[in-house]
Symmetry: C2
Subunit: 143 residues, 2 copies
DNA sequence: TCTCATTTGCAAATCGTTCGCATTTGCGTT
DNA sequence: AACGCAAATGCGAACGATTTGCAAATGAGA
């Protein structure tokens, strides 16, 4: 992502229009510390005095996801999708069952395992998804 | 699970009524090779000439899940929940992006990693979810 | 400035799932 | 076997997250 947060170039490079809603949504995701729901993004846009319809947020996120600028994820037990900026890093999340905080980590225990799968199951791995649940240091004493 | 597929004892042991719908759903999940959606379960019940409402299937699955007889899961990119009989085994799924076949495996590369998380992040792990995507041996040549 | 394909406003529709209430059923008790 | 009653199901509506349709607005190339 460009240092000066200029998404115009990024959007143009992907062959799509650089609209104010798209840039605003990308900025909101960049500022967010954790993946956001559509409603959270929508409300943040409203706070910034932007006029936008919820269906537009959905459409915009769908376009940005299809261009790999944004990552869409759902998490076990959560029926709402969440979105985050795609930093092109390989990372996963630890999720606290108590406070629902999500902490990302980049060490991946699955990489070596994928080679074993190719050998044992004749399976060509292209991606994986890992989520780890438990209690963070703040919540482990209140469970 | 009982060898003679008699779920009456299982349901009674959990303190809930042993109804024909519940036994039928447990049997369908036992016969299934992969986790099933609510609609698939509903249609299979219909094929067996059972009269049932979709809302009853949802309620029954919710009760069976709460008693740990059934496992509910969602998978990346799939907006429908899926259900499978709980064999009390620790396993994960490899999912073929081509034919959507799901193959389970029991080796788990995450177990050792959980200890590292406790040490490094002061995080008490209680569960994890792992899905691996790619192409099975039948689809790798058509991608 | 003009043009036009793309995007958004606006609102309804869809889908997966849950809820409310009347009726039926499973099962413990007699 | 009959009875009673709490739980389960029939029936259909409701809910929330998401998608769709169409007219109007906008971004960007010429």
């Amino acid at each position: 992502m460009p240092d000066n947060n200029d998404y115009k170039e990024v959007l143009t490079r992907e062959g799509i229009k650089s609209t104010k809603h798209r840039k605003a949504i990308l900025e909101i995701l960049e500022m967010a510390e954790t993946p956001l729901t559509v409603e959270e993004i929508f409300l943040t846009l409203k706070e910034k005095h932007a006029s936008i319809w919820l269906s537009t947020v959905y459409r915009t996120l769908e376009i940005l996801t299809s261009k790999d600028l944004v990552i869409k994820s759902t998490i076990m037990g959560d029926d709402k999708a969440r979105y985050e900026l795609n930093h092109n890093e390989h990372k996963h999340h630890v999720v606290c069952v108590g406070c629902h905080k999500r902490i990302s980590f980049e060490d991946c225990p699955v990489n070596e395992f994928e080679k074993a799968l190719k050998e044992r199951m004749d399976f060509d791995v292209t991606a994986h998804k890992l989520e780890i649940y438990g209690y963070c240091k703040d919540c482990k004493f209140t469970k």
